[in-house]
């Protein structure tokens, strides 16, 4: 198995991630570092929109590896995740080769030529090391999880007709979960666990600054403070980091200099996306903001 370059220290990983425009906190950097050193998958859990998926993308940029993504959903099965026999092509082969004997056809149609590679297979078979992102693993059922076990612990896939396919390079695997279902012990056992939460005020400010550098610092701080205030409410969908960034960009476009009540009410729909939530936020947060100062005539 070809060895991919590994980072030497946590700081190095953190720097590399920052270079890929992802500000990791201590634990995220440490776990990413360990995952590369130990060759173990990372299981990332946390509320929606804290950058779980982004971490995988950043890792792929930081390590210069291709990102192979498998989006999970209910009812996802091996045929869509792992591999599938291209049966149309197989039928064609059977019909086209009318003269050839059974043995020949049999050996032929179950060869790699007739194999449709799905994301997991791709990640394993890739000659270059990749980052494999298995997104929202909690959406699948337990059978699928069980199927993943072989992949995650041994980095190999068994195809009955072809035999075992082993990874030529070690993929860096990131699994994300919104924690809507308890994952099986067996799966957790094979992974490093990382809980991502909403970032601290300072770090979120840094993140906003990174993605909207033109926004003045003072305004960025104000923005993050308001977003945190909104998150503290009991909403159906609390604003994520991505929404903070969107809001920052919106404010830039609006040319706002401060977040007063008027600006807030105009742009609130960027961070709050349910009707009932909007009412609640307007009622609880809107009133706390100062009225806009009208320019003196």
């Amino acid at each position: 198995m070809a060895e991919a370059p590994k980072p030497d220290s946590v700081a190095e990983t953190k720097e590399a991630l920052a270079g890929a425009r992802y500000l990791a906190d201590e634990s995220a950097a440490l776990v990413s570092f360990l995952a590369q050193r130990l060759g173990k998958p990372i299981l990332v859990e946390g509320p929606a929109g804290v950058g779980k998926t982004e971490l995988a993308k950043a890792l792929s940029r930081a390590t210069d590896r291709e990102l192979v993504r498998l989006q999970c959903y209910e009812g996802l099965d091996e045929a869509k995740a792992l591999y599938e026999w291209n049966y149309r092509k197989q039928l064609l082969r059977i019909q086209a080769g009318g003269e050839s004997g059974w043995e020949e056809v049999h050996g032929d149609i179950f060869s790699e030529e007739f194999l449709l590679e799905r994301p997991l297979m791709q990640a394993i078979a890739s000659p270059e090391p990749v980052v494999l992102l298995i997104d929202e693993i909690d959406k699948t059922d337990q059978e699928f999880e069980a199927m993943l076990l072989e992949l995650l612990s041994d980095f190999q896939i068994t195809i009955p007709e072809l035999g075992r396919i082993e990874a030529t390079t070690m993929p860096l695997v990131v699994l994300t979960s919104n924690n809507s279902r308890e994952l099986t012990e067996a799966l957790k056992r094979r992974c490093l666990y990382l809980w991502l939460d909403y970032p601290e005020l300072e770090r979120e400010m840094e993140i906003v600054h990174l993605h909207a550098p033109e926004l003045p610092r003072a305004l960025a701080r104000r923005l993050v403070e308001v977003v945190r205030m909104v998150r503290a409410l009991d909403l159906k969908k609390p604003p994520s980091i991505a929404e903070s960034i969107d809001w920052a960009r919106t404010l830039l476009l609006m040319g706002a200099e401060d977040i007063d009540r008027e600006t807030f009410e105009q742009s609130m729909s960027i961070i709050v996306k349910h009707r009932t939530d909007i009412d609640l936020v307007a009622e609880r947060v809107g009133v706390k903001l100062a009225d806009s100062v009208r320019p003196q005539a």
Binding site: E26, L30, V31, L38, G75, D77, N179, R181, E185, A232
Partner: protein, 467 residues
Amino acid sequence: MPTPYGPKPDAGPPGLAPKLLGFCEELRSEGVAVGTSEILDAFAALEQVPWSSQDDFREALAATIAKSQEDRRLFELLFERWFFRTAEAEAIERGIGERGERHEGGERLDIDELREQIREAIVAGNEGEMRDLARLAIAAFGREGEGSGVVGVDVQRIRRTLGLSTGAAQQAEDGSDALAPIEREELSRFERHLRRELERDLIERTSTLPPSRPLAELDRALPTSPTQDLAAVHRAVSQMKRRLATLGHEQRGRRKGRTVDVRRTMRASLETGGVPLRLRYRPKRPRRPEIYVLCDVSTSVTSASVFFLSVLHALHDSFRKLRSFVFIERISEVTEVFEHERDFREIAKRISSEGGVADVSGYTDYGRVWLEFLTEISDDLDPRSTVIVLGDARTNGREPHAEVFAQIAERAGRLFWLNPEPRLYWNYGDSVMAAYERHCDGAFECWTTRHLESFVNVVAGGVPAAD
């Protein structure tokens, strides 16, 4: 082996490995599933990080050992305690102490100056400095011989003398001095340092470790008292809500009424040369049960009713066919309220104002509630419906009407009882749990998320209730 330093605590063999194993053992005893493979991972991970950094050490351990947020919380609680105890045990063993030098400088300290420094360290959040200052503060007080010997009391005493209090009170006190207010969390961090140092002092003085206790069940129980943060209850339940929404998807009936999945059948047929010898079926959706929830909202269950109402709230999101009722002396249907109101606080308010469930005394009357439920609602009950009662079965000495309850149980397909009291208290005093339990398909104590979770498994999973 007797030592000159007093009773020898069981330090075990030297070295880190046994300590770490001991730590894992302790985690296991608190219910965290730590497998051998995880311990191996932990050792592998520790080889990769510098041990000199406590944060790295802790994170590396946590990433390999604690695999859920719940586990992580227990991990944090135990990590502190275990390594502190281990280090102290080692110190006693080897007779290393800090006494003598620790109180040095205590005389020269000026309280005001110290207060200023502590405030700065707290606001800056500098852990190392806070720890040093905590020692100094203890030294300054040790000089005055004020120690009561009880750690908790001393912590508060020192805090008061230093004039440290949270936010608003602080500013009022200091008037013109525009000091940054101290957040409660920040202050409690300093208090933790104080506590830690006082404990260390005590251990050193007595050369014994206090007995290690298992974590109190209460530490992990749901915060149910209404004075506590409602958000905390809700966070726990919203977790539950997501679980409920996907629960039952895992257990898919595959026996009757199956439909053939053409795509997968075709694919399978290729193995047999295009002849569909084996049929593949579409997975079957579980049928959502019809649920009736009866929730006691009287004063005897005040602490639990916040929790119960939020459970109800959560259930409403997950089961479309759900009717909810609240009762004290009378019963009242509140399905409407839950369906039209999204905000939980609003729901709680409306239920208490419009419920009309209290009559004269405000004490629960289970017997009357059953009678009312039977006459008004029970015609709708059929063998597919599930009735869930949330209550403590304390009748205040009134007629329990267990036979009416039995009739309800008979009409409903399944009947469960969730009791917010520990099983130990059932049937003591005016609790008539036994009279009702006979007719239930399952009676559960329910005051932690874990209890709730196991119950939800029974309802949504359709697994017959144990016992």
